[in-house]
């Protein structure tokens, strides 16, 4: 029977591939939305086809997309999984980096300081995620409320550390994280692509991926199969924290300054929207990582399109709402047909 299927596919190769593409579009509201946005831009936005446009969007989407990947895993882990603390964690990580290399120790040991300025914030951000995971996994506090704690306090800690001041710096190495390019591609985009492919591969092929989806699908059953449900949640939330930290480093590096007060404000909304537009279901048990990245691209392109065409940000909010609902509706509608 399997053989027959393969034969059929081969004999009608071109038809199959175009049908495949159609099916891909049908199942992916985010992709449709993205293509529509690109077409709109091609028509309306002046100077849209320029390398610089590509660079701008790549650098701007990177923090959202990375957070969306983390959010995707957290939502996939089930039981109402969500992390609304990403914005605060982003601010915290972003504030820590310059504190490291601008400290006395940092100035005396620039080499170590740069490494430390990357590692330490990521560690702290990951710990924040682990803390969330602990509350969710161990105390079974509902994720939205559990992560509300760091949402409130995380930024407060960052502000306490910096005394609310903006830290401006001049550090070519660190700024490379923001402005550097690798083979002509902005460094953030490169890191984003690496992380996205890696995580997507992990989800598809690794034991952890299977565990995550099982726990998200039915955590009681997963527990009875001897799966380390608590550890899986810890890792999912921890990784989400890590992603927020990474986004924080990008933001700080881009600006050559850290601002604990405003960095990552409302990032949780963009992250969640991107993940969901990309096909993550709020129920858990599904982790379309690449979809989340596409979702982030949709959110970014939308912001860009509206801004570039001088549409006021109030109207932009309404458009954003419409496109979120639209993209998800497309997805659900097609799923129901199956």
């Amino acid at each position: 029977m399997i053989n027959q299927q393969i034969d059929k596919n081969e004999s009608s190769g071109s038809i199959a591939s175009s049908a495949k593409f159609k099916a891909l579009l049908k199942n992916n509201g985010a992709l449709v939305a993205l293509i529509v946005l690109l077409i709109i831009n091609a028509i309306f936005t002046p100077h849209f086809f320029a390398m610089q446009t590509f660079y701008i969007n790549m650098t701007q989407v990177a923090p959202i997309a990375i957070v969306a990947i983390g959010m995707c895993l957290v939502i996939a882990s089930g039981n109402g999984g969500i992390d609304i603390s990403v914005g605060s964690v982003l601010a915290l990580a972003g504030a820590l980096a310059p504190m490291v290399f601008m400290s006395e120790f940092g100035l005396n040991n620039p080499g170590i300081a740069i490494a430390l300025a990357i590692v330490l914030p990521l560690l702290v951000a990951t710990s924040c995620g682990l803390f969330n995971g602990f509350l969710v996994g161990h105390y079974r506090i509902q994720p939205m409320i559990a992560t509300l704690i760091l949402f409130i306090s995380g930024r407060g800690i960052a502000q306490l550390l910096t005394n609310g001041d903006i830290q401006t710096f001049n550090n070519d190495f660190f700024q490379y994280l923001g402005t550097g390019r690798l083979f002509g591609i902005p460094i953030q985009a490169v890191i984003l692509i690496i992380i996205a492919l890696f995580v997507s591969w992990i989800i598809k092929t690794s034991k952890f991926g299977r565990y995550l989806l099982a726990v998200g699908g039915n955590d009681k059953a997963a527990f009875l199969c001897g799966l380390p449900t608590f550890k899986v949640k810890l890792i999912a939330y921890g990784f989400c924290g890590f992603c927020a930290g990474m986004a924080g480093l990008f933001t700080t590096a881009m600006n050559s300054a850290s601002d604990a007060n405003t960095a990552g404000l409302l990032m949780e909304l963009d992250g969640i929207s991107a993940a969901v537009v990309g096909g993550t279901v709020m129920m858990g048990g599904k982790a379309p990582v690449i979809g989340a990245v596409i979702g982030a691209l949709v959110i970014q392109m939308m912001t860009y399109t509206l801004l570039a065409n001088g549409i006021s940000d109030s109207a932009a909010m309404i458009a954003k709402a419409a496109i979120i609902i639209g993209a998800i509706y497309l997805q659900l509608k097609n799923k129901q047909k199956h």
Binding site: Q52, I56, T168
Partner: protein
């Protein structure tokens, strides 16, 4: 007339800050804290985190604690009217700081003592005139606005646009909010620059957004100060440094250091002096000629 104030050695003073999330606000709060001891204040500071209604409620909790004086930097013009009214009803004199409240409803010298602060419309006009001078009255402008809906942003737009409108060769090609934040300012500027490559001037409603704009200009491979003239507002240390580095052309000062002036005005009022309805701050203009000289006392 506003409630009287007795002359005492010690006052219980409320400072109901509207938000404490940018350098300017922090500097303002600090300047009140710094003067407190010298002025004989026992200072209560609250933070409304950007919510006008919470600010009203903060003022109310100060009234409940029977403070002697309230210094109020109103988050917005209209929503803070009730706060002023209630304080008056409870016999507590209010000094408005840095922003006004709706003068058609409550009036200085009557409902509150006075307004201590700069003239936002004027600041916008000054900025526009500086750009006119620097560009010879020709070119395309991007304006980075402050937080949507804030009084300062609205007034700055009014002042700035009114002057630019007089010059037919000058055009504001885009005017978008950057939320007073460097990151947002950068992102918005990146996009606007992409769609308006022939832009020659930028005025940002604060130095933070101006600094963000500078990053965006540099990222686009242009030279700030040469290809594009950048103007800011406030006079932060980072801003002045940008002038020294030649990246920013000018900054219209808007000082947050109201503490000393507030102390002085309050003392005058306590001694029975009649206070003018608007105690204006002296706002300077910083440019290449004086930036280095002022950078050390910038905030």
């Amino acid at each position: 007339a506003p409630p009287p104030l007795a002359e005492k050695a010690q006052y219980k003073v409320g400072f109901a800050q509207s938000e404490n999330n940018n350098p300017w606000r922090i500097a303002e709060t600090d300047s009140f804290k710094n003067i407190a001891k010298e002025c004989g204040w026992q200072l209560i500071v609250t933070d409304a985190s950007g919510s006008a209604s919470k600010q009203v409620s903060d003022v109310n909790s100060m009234i409940a604690q029977r403070v002697d004086v309230i210094f109020l930097p109103p988050r917005e013009e209209r929503p803070l009217v009730p706060a002023v009214k209630r304080a008056k009803a409870r016999g507590i004199p209010v000094f408005l700081v840095d922003r006004k409240v709706d003068e058609t409803v409550v009036k200085p010298g009557e409902d509150y003592v006075t307004f201590i602060g700069s003239d936002f419309i004027k600041q916008g006009e000054v900025a526009a005139e500086l750009l006119v001078k620097l560009s010879g009255g020709k070119g395309k402008i991007i304006q980075l606005e402050g937080t949507t809906g804030s009084t300062s942003a609205l007034d700055h737009v009014v002042g700035f646009n009114s002057v630019i409108a007089k010059y037919p060769d000058m055009e504001i090609v885009a005017s978008q909010t950057g939320d007073y934040a460097r990151d947002k300012g950068r992102k918005v500027m990146e996009t606007l620059l992409q769609t308006n490559p022939d832009v020659t001037m930028v005025w940002a409603h604060n130095d933070e957004m101006a600094l963000g704009a500078i990053r965006a200009i540099e990222a686009a491979g242009l030279v700030p100060g040469k290809d594009i003239i950048v103007g800011g507002k406030d006079g932060t240390r980072d801003g002045l440094q940008a002038i020294i580095d030649g990246k920013m052309a000018f900054i219209v000062e808007s000082t947050p250091k109201f503490g000393p002036l507030a102390c002085e005005t309050m003392k005058r009022y306590a001694s029975g002096e009649k206070i003018e309805p608007w105690v204006k701050t002296e706002d300077r203009i910083f440019d290449a000629s004086n930036a280095a000289q002022h950078i050390n006392d910038a905030f």
